[in-house]
Symmetry: C2
Subunit: 619 residues, 2 copies
Amino acid sequence: MESPELWRELGQQLRVDSVRAAAVTSSGHPTSSMSGADLMAVLLANHLHYDFANPEDPRNDHLVFSKGHASPLLYAMYKAAGAITDEELFTFRKFGSRLEGHPTPVIPWVDVATGSLGQGLPYGVGIALAGKRLDRLPYRTWVLCGDSEIAEGSVWEAFEHAAYEKLDNLTAIIDVNRLGQRGETMHGWDLGSYTKRAEAFGWHAIEIDGHDVEAIDRAFTEAADTTGVPTVIVAKTIKGKGVQAVENKDGFHGKALPEAEQAIEELGGIRNIAVEVAKPEISGEPHVFETSGSLELPSYELGAEVATRKAYGEALKAIGDARGDVIALDGEVSNSTYAEIFRDAHPDRYFEMFIAEQQMVAAAVGIQVRKWKPFASTFAAFFTRAYDFIRMAAISRANIKLCGSHAGVSIGEDGPSQMGLEDLAALRAVHGSTVLYPSDANQTAKLVEAMVDLDGIVFLRTTRGETPVIYEAGESFPVGGARVVRSSDEDEVALIGAGITLHEALKAADSLAGEGVSARVIDLYSVKPVDVKTLRATAEATGGRLVVAEDHWPEGGLGEAVLSAFAAADESVKVVHLAVREMPGSGKPAELLAAAGIDAEHIATAARQLVASTVGAAN
Amino acid sequence: MESPELWRELGQQLRVDSVRAAAVTSSGHPTSSMSGADLMAVLLANHLHYDFANPEDPRNDHLVFSKGHASPLLYAMYKAAGAITDEELFTFRKFGSRLEGHPTPVIPWVDVATGSLGQGLPYGVGIALAGKRLDRLPYRTWVLCGDSEIAEGSVWEAFEHAAYEKLDNLTAIIDVNRLGQRGETMHGWDLGSYTKRAEAFGWHAIEIDGHDVEAIDRAFTEAADTTGVPTVIVAKTIKGKGVQAVENKDGFHGKALPEAEQAIEELGGIRNIAVEVAKPEISGEPHVFETSGSLELPSYELGAEVATRKAYGEALKAIGDARGDVIALDGEVSNSTYAEIFRDAHPDRYFEMFIAEQQMVAAAVGIQVRKWKPFASTFAAFFTRAYDFIRMAAISRANIKLCGSHAGVSIGEDGPSQMGLEDLAALRAVHGSTVLYPSDANQTAKLVEAMVDLDGIVFLRTTRGETPVIYEAGESFPVGGARVVRSSDEDEVALIGAGITLHEALKAADSLAGEGVSARVIDLYSVKPVDVKTLRATAEATGGRLVVAEDHWPEGGLGEAVLSAFAAADESVKVVHLAVREMPGSGKPAELLAAAGIDAEHIATAARQLVASTVGAAN
């Protein structure tokens, strides 16, 4: 077969296989697959360079299905490439199958999970950044987008960053089939509305008929040949193309075709074209950054006043000195998070993401696709902006490290918009996440070191203000542990805190000691996983009297993490939970801690009352 | 004084007062205020129509400081308008002052809290939508934006929607002072980079020198005279303008001026110009939507199979029949959330927000500024996209209602990207929020009715699949309550669920009854506030044996809400917590509930084991 004829036939095969896959469980998105089938046929047959037998080959291109609901099309491509069988295709959406409703990296050829729209292009930017600035290999990243999802602001963050970083190794393909889930998109088939926006953002834009395989082929060639700027191919397509019953009709989104057999016949029947997908033609190995050698973490003297955010920056820089795979990104606040210390030492491995937290997290996810170790930082409050990306990163089985600074009311005058007060709840509720909240600079350094090789989503919460160094440099702080900071055999109550409240708890213990009340103090620096063993031992030693203080709303943070450790325990505990319960305003840190009822005085009062009300009573 | 001279003097006064305010606590953002001072001087003196004595006047213009950190400038405007005194200005950022670091509606002239960048313009779109389509009054909405924040994708969602809705009553002013927090922005003083993007998105754009008061005046007039499209004024300004020590210099973001006295002198000293701000010149009352009269909630027959998402749509439509102030918005999934039922009945009060969840929530916040009652819906999973807006909405003291459908693994084949599994944790951790999770259609209808007049952020979680109606129509379900669905004096264990797991708990209770184990079943439909009294009574009645099952990650949801009710209780409880602990894939709902260990069989097994291991032991 001549190429154009092959491409057309392959397009029909991809449609047929999409229809067949969706018929299995009568669910899925065949019509959204059929619109993009010709685009993907030409890509697979003539432009993609990918070794399906070796998905880890660093020279492979990357293909991201931002319109993840078109998974039948993606899986049909795998079949055409010989990567999966017809038999496996028929497991689509069945329990236990890796061919899920939306693609995830359970499949070895999928880099990132998609299905929350508007995310694929930001991930593509991350992968392309890795290619250009880290790996320094000219592999290409291709992203298939839907037209509905262009309404997501995150897509425009991606357009902005890709142009800024001159990512000519990135091609976006917008499958403009006009119809969203519940009707027409804002722009319908007005291709110009997309191209003029993309051009204004600095991209090269090409309009084509997305069913003209020769035009598609030329556009891909033009994209690959365009230097200095990324290219977007805006393709006019027809949803459900090839089957009259559904073609360009509303009401068939996310539905198997009503008459699959008839549709397959209309599409010319089942084909079994095997495509010899081109292997990478580029050569070379991923770039390796030179490093100075062994790790020398910063160390801080006992009693010195050091902000944990500063220790984060200094530790990250030191780790970057020792390891060339450590990367940093920041959202235009590097002088607050102290990511700037890393930036100044390792500018080649630093990415300024400006005020675009969604793109920042997405870039981290894209960068880790290529095994780099990204640390992304902003104010803890502003990770809420990227929460959907963090949620999806867990589904991507991504290994990313996030540092949220300026936690809680203790930041002071800036007021509630800048106070991370829900970050612990949000980050704990991410599958497989680790949540760390150090109380001192030496501990911060050790935890940052531990983060590098931890899998999953790892979140570190740092404090704005300076707090005293309470641990010797070099002490060990295992993830999942808690530190008994102060204890005696006479302890009647335990004070549990982390970060700023640990220091308040220590002051409270001092004042309680003056009154003859012996208090154990626990540093709960590992909020998730939480140290159930130490907590239970603490309860046993203190008559089950626990005061937990946290600079966070009452829900989902330290307090509930502690409670969860006792859910099914034999120990009976009384937990007095001090947390931020009223909307704070501006003020000095000490004023705001007092107003929230989480300072030393309130902790001491709570402990005193708890002891008075329960000592002597049956435990 | 002639106008231009007055404007120039007023600009200097705003600068001086910004410097003076920031000097109070040596914190704040005077340099970011100084760049926008001339823009705001001309606006205040010659274009804004606002009755400071009557901020509730529906004819007032609206001014949103999207660059909320320029609060000294805003407060200096209040002083110039005679709304606050110099004395109050000097409380800036002090504990207890309403003049917080970033503006909030604690101040009567502030509509929405800002300080998380990139949010003011989306709120402005909401207010302008209210003006155009609901109030139907020609008040204007003016939004002062920083240049750094244009990097946020949410800003482009706003550009897109404002043009789509032809919001010629909206003016954005971008204060292009070139310098962000840590250095130059992506585009520096390249004004064209902003205007060409805005024009591509369908706006009218005007470039000006932001310190030329006559040019500013002409631009505001041109904006007001432009019909059919919104206008953006892109103003080249100088950060720290007027004080050489800081003018156009990096390193002075968010810092009081080093030599305040000298700076004030350089700016020409303290002034006390009083501006007579024009009162609204437009007439008319806000539009009132005709309604058919009294509320007739939908009712469902016991035993019928009805999805709670369907009941949401039907109830909302019915409430909309009865009340003209109820509004609905949806993020392009109205045929899934069933907001389409409201849309079809009340198209004038329905807003299609396409796939732009940030703009959707922001529009709801903007719409409630004018006292309308907005209900915004999408999949529960996709509210994570707007989490920063929801967090900020709480600081805005906004009254908005959110409905998240397709909660949990029970959605089935679509896979984890579409499953809300962190929504309860995220929404519980919003200050003052209410979190509801109905189990049946009649209950849903009653809760939707209750939502209308509830203050704060109210979240309703609905289920995709059909579940049996278990409550009679018209029964009462108070917010903050829990329903004992089944009980007897012999109960040895309680099964606690909500939504889909309540039905699994009922099935489990049936099978336990067959084995002679009597189980109480609790419907925890009000997740926040949680019904502490009923939970404690339940524990007392069942020997403290509780099994909680939830279709959510283990953190921050039903389980921890239950634990929080017992934190400091005298009752000793054992809580077996069944939740989704592994990443789900695709499959049938029943398969996924079983795999997650939250179906009837797992609940029964947990209850059986809990009873076996504890009955006979001391309670």
